[in-house]
Each structure stands twice: as structure tokens, then as C-alpha cells.
């Protein structure tokens, strides 16, 4: 199975094939054996062969494509995309397709500044989200028409919750 893993803005192509004792994973033309065992829904033991390097990895599937891994002392956020998605995401930025405003951290919606049908410009505030004592303004990243609004003032939302869809 082929994936494009996006990390710090860079894309890496990865191919994963199940084999006895784990996965054969090809990255940058180099294939290694990844022996991955999940202990529960949040923790995995990973051994990479040859070499046997051992990693205890806590993971969260945060959004549809977004994963957060704790590898050793590092906390790493990355997106795992099907190849077609990676291409769409890269070329679609300017106009086509829908853009979603997601809650970057959990919080309480203080205000929704748009309604379906509104035109928005890049940088225009769309939602105000409060977490503890700080207010965060979420802005539109591109111009378009507000298609759907999934939150209202007073709602408490998790990270990754889609607040507004702009078409």
C-alpha cells in the first residue's frame, strides 16, 4: 500500500507491504522490516530490522489524515495521505476543492463570524476560539464562499473539529 507522509511541509513516499513478522517498508528506495505491535489504542512497540532498533511510540489519529507520534523524546505531527490526496492537496491550494477551518486546539467557541453563503477573503477572521484564558482568531486561508458552519458560540470542541467549510 502506497502512502505519502507529509512532515514539516515535505512529502515522503512510503510503500508498506505486510510480510511475516511485520511490514516491509520502502522509503527513499530503501526497504526495512518494521515489526510493529500495538499494545492498546495509543501505544506501539516498533522494532526496525536489520539492526533491531527499538522504539516505543505513543500515537494518536487526530484528524482524518493527521497523526501525532511520540517517538522517544520527540513529539512529531504528520499527515498520512493516499497518493491522490497528496496531489490534490498540493495542486488544489489556490482555488478548487473545499477548504476546512479546523480547531487547532480544544476550546470553547466564542464567536462564529460568518454564515453559509458569506464570501470570505484570505486572512478574514472566521471563528474565535477560547482555550483557558486566551482567545484565538481562526482566519480563512483563501477566498471563497462559506458552505457550511458546524459550530455555534458556546460549543466546546476538540482539536481537529471542522468548524467551517469554505468552497
Amino acid at each position: 500500500m502506497k502512502w505519502v507522509v507529509r512532515l514539516d511541509g515535505g512529502d515522503r513516499e512510503v510503500e508498506v507491504e505486510p510480510v511475516s513478522g511485520g511490514f516491509a517498508v520502502t522509503l527513499d528506495g530503501h526497504t526495512q522490516m518494521v515489526d510493529l505491535v500495538r499494545l492498546d489504542g495509543t501505544l506501539a512497540s516498533v522494532l526496525v530490522r536489520p539492526g533491531g532498533a527499538s522504539y516505543e511510540i505513543a500515537y494518536q489519529h487526530e484528524t482524518r489524515t493527521g497523526w501525532r507520534l511520540t517517538v522517544g523524546e520527540r513529539e512529531i505531527q504528520l499527515d498520512v495521505l493516499a497518493p491522490i490526496e497528496a496531489i490534490a492537496a498540493r495542486t488544489g491550494g489556490g482555488g478548487a476543492g473545499a477548504a476546512r477551518i479546523e480547531a487547532p486546539i480544544p476550546g470553547r467557541v466564542v464567536a462564529v463570524k460568518v454564515a453559509p453563503g458569506d464570501e470570505v477573503r484570505p486572512g478574514q477572521p472566521v471563528v474565535v476560539l477560547e482555550a483557558m484564558k486566551m482567545e484565538n482568531e481562526l482566519v480563512a486561508e483563501r477566498s471563497g464562499t462559506v458552505q457550511e458552519v458546524f459550530a455555534a458560540a458556546g460549543d466546546v470542541v476538540d482539536a481537529g473539529f471542522v468548524l467551517v467549510v469554505i468552497a
Binding site: M1, K2, W3, V5, L7, D8, R12, V14, V16, P18, G22, F23, V25, L27, Q32, V34, L36, R38, G41, T42, L43, A44, V46, V48, A53, Y55, I57, A58, Y59, Q60, H61, R64, W67, R68, L69, T70, V71, G72, E73, R74, E75, I76, L78, V80, A82, P83, I84, E85, I105, P106, G107, R108, A131, M132, K133, M134, D158, A159
Partner: protein
């Protein structure tokens, strides 16, 4: 005997543990946000005291006294924060015939005033930072002070504390406006618009002396702590002993601290705080009339139990600690784990803890106020837990801290753990070359990008990339499908369609 804890989080847990070891039964109180908090689960009984906002629960004095009465508690322990330094609450508790685990109300009131406590400390012989001894009545006083002592100066709210209510002024022309703002901030935060001025000490170290005194006049200094690693005047890392305090300085610190204790008629455990300049001169800062967050580093090095001692003193027993028997051993360091993202300006990070693993093994102690699977409430101080390590000397303690940090894992929310992992590898940390401005100066210089710089010995990106791809493959249902099982969720179905366009 029964003790009510007017607090929550890790300090409530700490107090419950001390009580259990002393055979004292415990009464917990909880707001609606804390029904399944650790202190509720661990106490012998637990009572609801109101909605999540602290003003309607943990700060509701009458409600707390009500619970104390109906539950038959004889003692009230305030922990730190909330009502711990509120003299009115202490007075009410005592007026009700209950035992207040802390110093007398009038001592809390006296030391709660920055100017009154400065005056008292100065009269007792503790060195003071040059500054006004009285609140500023009119701007001319401030100008005269600056004329004599120069700039920069620090304007401080008389009722301030815990790093709040301070304003630095560098230019003469800003003095009047700064005074105005400092006054209105003081009024807003503390209900007291009085402000005074001190000379600003350049890149000082924060050194404090742990004291304990009983009602029979005995008092001891239980070593010093260094708490210079702060962010915006809030302590983040503390250690005992201070890496820069010599035996000679230590003796003078102890003398100054005990002079303040005696002059104020202090009874209970408490902390006398000092600033120390680059030349090793120290100055009285303030006294905290309660248990400190960082008390465990002293416990680790001096082999004492400060909470037990505090309760014993409140019960009228004589001090069990004797100055000549207090003998430090090794070095201890504490890190405060907050639900904040240190690389995004310490943005708060409430949410659900989905995975929690605490470090353990030799020389490691964790005082935690959260459970796996529970939600960190939005309403309170975001400190989740404290990690304390001890080692026979500072280098071993530092390497143990590094090891313990690598074992500590909290997923689901951002925490200050990555900051500590970064700090513990800095050369300034190893050489203890820091001051209270260190962190605020360091963090903006990092090419942040939302995280600490990656170190050579860190796990490589490749491992994360490969692991994420394997996890996505497992969750995609593709393995089931290739065994003839159809994926069922919309997400899996979508993935199947996307992948269907590509050769496998």
C-alpha cells in the same frame, strides 16, 4: 482525626498521602469539573461544592466551612493557591474553632503586604533591594527615587505576589504612564491600587530558604532552593541545593530567613524568598506563608516530610526537626509539568489525556494530579504534575532527570515536557549558568517551528514516517480487505477508492 483539604490537583493528593501515613482521615471537596479527579478518588470522603469556576467552588469560604462542619473535620489544609494566603479565610477557620494548617491569620496578612513585609524584613536585618518603603503617594516620590538609584526600576503592586503585578520601567519618560498602568492593574487583579518601586536587579537568581517554626519559638532553616528557571516570573524548574550557594552564603541566608521568621512570629512551614545578584549579594524578596509547589526537592535532599511537619505544627506539637540534625545529601531537581505548549508561547492546552505513562525507578518521584483518560479542566491552574529526581550529586541528578523525562509520556494534550527535554541538554543547564530571565531570553531565539530543535541523538524522522505509514495501513482496513473482509466505515471506503486507482 479528620482533615479537610480546600484544594484540588497534585497538592490535594500530596496532603492526602501525608494524612494517610499519619492516620488522619481526609475530606476532599470537588467542583463539578473534578468529580473523577485523583483527590476525590483517594480521600476517605468527598463532597461537591459547586460549579467549575473557582469563585463558585474552591474559593467559596462559606461552602468550605459548611462541608467542614457537616463532615466533622477538625483541620483545614489550604494547599497552595486558592485560599492558602487569604488571611480572611484563615481567620474564619480559626473563628469556627477549626485548626488552620498554616500560620496565624495576622502573619499571613502582614507578610501579604509587599511594603509591610519589606519593612519588617529590613528591621529584622535582612538585606533589601534599594526601594521605597511605602506605597507611592504621588509621582514625585517615584521620580526622586529614580534620581537617586537610577534606571531600570521595577514597579510592584503592594498586594501582588506569585510573579503578578510587576512592571519594569527603563526610560524616565515612561515613568508616569507606567505608574498609572501599574495602579490600575493592581486595582484590577488584587483590589488594591497601591504601588511601590524597587531598583531592578540585573539577571538575578532566585534563591529561597525553606523554614519551619513551631508555637514554642523553635525555628529551623531546611536548606535553600534555587528557582531561577522561570517564565514570566513563574517558576518552571527548581532545585535543592542551589548550585551557587557556598556554605558561607548559606549561613547568611539562613540567618536572614530565620530573623524574618522570628520578627513576624511565624508558625508553620514557610519560605523566605531572596534575589541574588551576579556578585553573590542577596536581597529579601517576599515571604510565602504556605507550602510551596517546590517543597519536594527539599524533602528529597534533607530526608524530611514537610507536609507531615506542617500538620504536626498545626496540631500544637513541637518541631521534630533540629537544625544540627538537618544534613543535606545529594541534589534534587523538580520540573513542573503544565498543560501548555512551551514552543507556542505557553499556549494553554486543555483536553483529554489519552495516554499517560509516569517515570519510575531509582531517585524518581512523581506527584501527579491527573489520571489517564480524564480531561484537564479549563478552569484551573494548568499544572498537571511534578517530576522530582534525586541523585547523589548534581551531574547524576541531571542525567537521571534526562532519563526520567524520556520515560514520561503524556499524549492528547501539549505539555511542558518537550521544554524540559530540551533544557536538560543545554550546556547552561549542566553548568547551572542561569538566572530568572534566562528562559524568557532563550525561547524567542529558537528557530521554533513549534518544537525544540532536533538533537543528534533523537529518533530520526524516518522512524516516525515508517511507523505512521504502518499504522495507517493497519487502520485502513486494507489488510482485512486483502483477506476478503470488506471495509465498513466511510473513511475506509474512501481510502479504498483512492487506493483503487493505483496499482498495488
Amino acid at each position: 482525626m479528620k482533615l479537610l483539604i480546600a484544594n484540588r490537583g497534585e497538592i490535594a493528593v500530596r496532603i492526602i498521602r501525608a494524612c494517610q501515613e499519619m492516620g488522619i482521615r481526609t475530606v476532599a471537596v470537588y467542583s463539578e469539573a473534578d468529580r473523577v479527579s485523583p483527590h476525590v478518588l483517594m480521600a476517605d470522603e468527598a463532597h461537591a461544592i459547586g460549579p467549575a469556576p473557582a469563585a463558585e467552588s474552591y474559593l467559596d469560604m462559606d461552602r468550605l466551612l459548611d462541608v467542614a462542619r457537616t463532615s466533622g473535620a477538625q483541620l483545614i489544609h489550604p494547599g497552595y493557591g486558592f485560599l492558602a494566603e487569604n488571611p480572611d479565610f484563615a481567620a474564619k477557620v480559626e473563628a469556627t474553632g477549626l485548626t488552620w494548617v498554616g500560620p496565624p491569620a495576622e502573619v499571613i496578612r502582614l507578610m501579604g503586604s509587599k511594603t509591610a513585609s519589606r519593612r519588617l524584613a529590613g528591621e529584622a536585618g535582612a538585606p533589601l533591594i534599594p526601594g521605597l518603603m511605602e506605597p507611592i503617594a504621588e509621582p514625585g516620590q517615584l521620580e526622586a527615587f529614580v534620581e537617586e538609584h537610577g534606571l531600570p526600576v521595577l514597579l510592584k503592586a503592594v498586594a501582588g505576589g506569585g510573579g503578578k503585578g510587576m512592571r519594569r520601567v527603563d526610560r524616565k519618560e515612561d515613568l508616569a504612564a507606567a505608574l498609572e498602568r501599574a495602579r490600575s492593574e493592581g486595582a484590577a487583579y488584587f483590589g488594591d491600587d497601591r504601588v511601590y518601586a524597587e531598583r531592578l536587579v540585573d539577571r538575578p537568581r532566585h534563591i529561597e530558604v525553606q523554614v519551619a517554626a513551631d508555637r514554642f519559638g523553635a525555628a529551623v532553616a531546611v536548606g535553600e532552593r534555587e528557582c531561577s528557571i522561570q517564565r514570566r516570573h513563574q517558576k518552571v524548574v527548581e532545585e535543592c541545593p542551589s548550585p551557587v550557594v557556598t556554605p558561607e552564603i548559606r549561613q547568611r541566608l539562613f540567618d536572614a530567613a530565620l530573623a524574618v521568621v522570628r520578627a513576624s512570629g511565624y508558625q508553620s512551614v514557610g519560605t523566605v524568598e531572596f534575589l541574588m545578584d551576579r556578585d553573590g549579594q542577596f536581597y529579601f524578596l517576599e515571604m510565602n506563608t504556605r507550602l510551596q509547589v517546590e517543597h519536594p526537592v527539599t524533602e528529597a535532599v534533607y530526608g524530611v516530610d514537610l507536609v507531615r511537619e506542617q500538620i504536626r505544627i498545626a496540631l500544637g506539637e513541637p518541631l521534630s526537626l533540629k537544625q544540627e540534625e538537618l544534613c543535606p545529601r545529594g541534589h534534587a531537581i523538580e520540573c513542573r509539568v503544565y498543560a501548555e505548549d512551551p514552543f507556542r508561547g505557553f499556549a494553554p492546552s486543555p483536553g483529554r489525556i489519552v495516554f499517560l505513562r509516569r517515570p519510575s525507578g531509582p531517585g524518581v518521584r512523581v506527584d501527579s494530579g491527573v489520571l489517564n483518560g480524564t480531561t484537564v479542566p479549563l478552569e484551573y491552574d494548568p499544572m498537571l504534575a511534578k517530576l522530582i529526581v534525586w541523585g547523589p550529586d548534581r551531574p547524576v541528578a541531571v542525567s537521571r532527570l534526562r532519563r526520567a523525562l524520556s520515560e514520561y509520556c503524556i499524549s492528547g494534550i501539549a505539555t511542558t515536557l518537550p521544554l524540559f527535554r530540551f533544557l536538560v541538554r543545554r550546556p547552561e543547564f549542566a553548568s547551572a549558568d542561569f538566572h530568572t530571565w534566562y528562559l524568557d531570553e532563550l525561547l524567542p531565539t529558537l528557530d521554533a517551528g513549534g518544537g525544540p530543535p532536533v538533537q543528534a541523538e533523537d529518533a530520526p524522522d524516518d522512524v516516525a514516517v515508517m511507523t505512521a505509514a504502518c499504522l495507517a495501513t493497519l487502520e485502513s482496513g486494507w489488510l482485512e480487505e486483502s483477506r476478503g473482509v470488506r471495509p465498513e466505515s466511510w473513511w475506509r471506503e474512501g481510502l479504498r477508492q483512492l487506493h483503487g486507482r493505483f496499482p498495488r
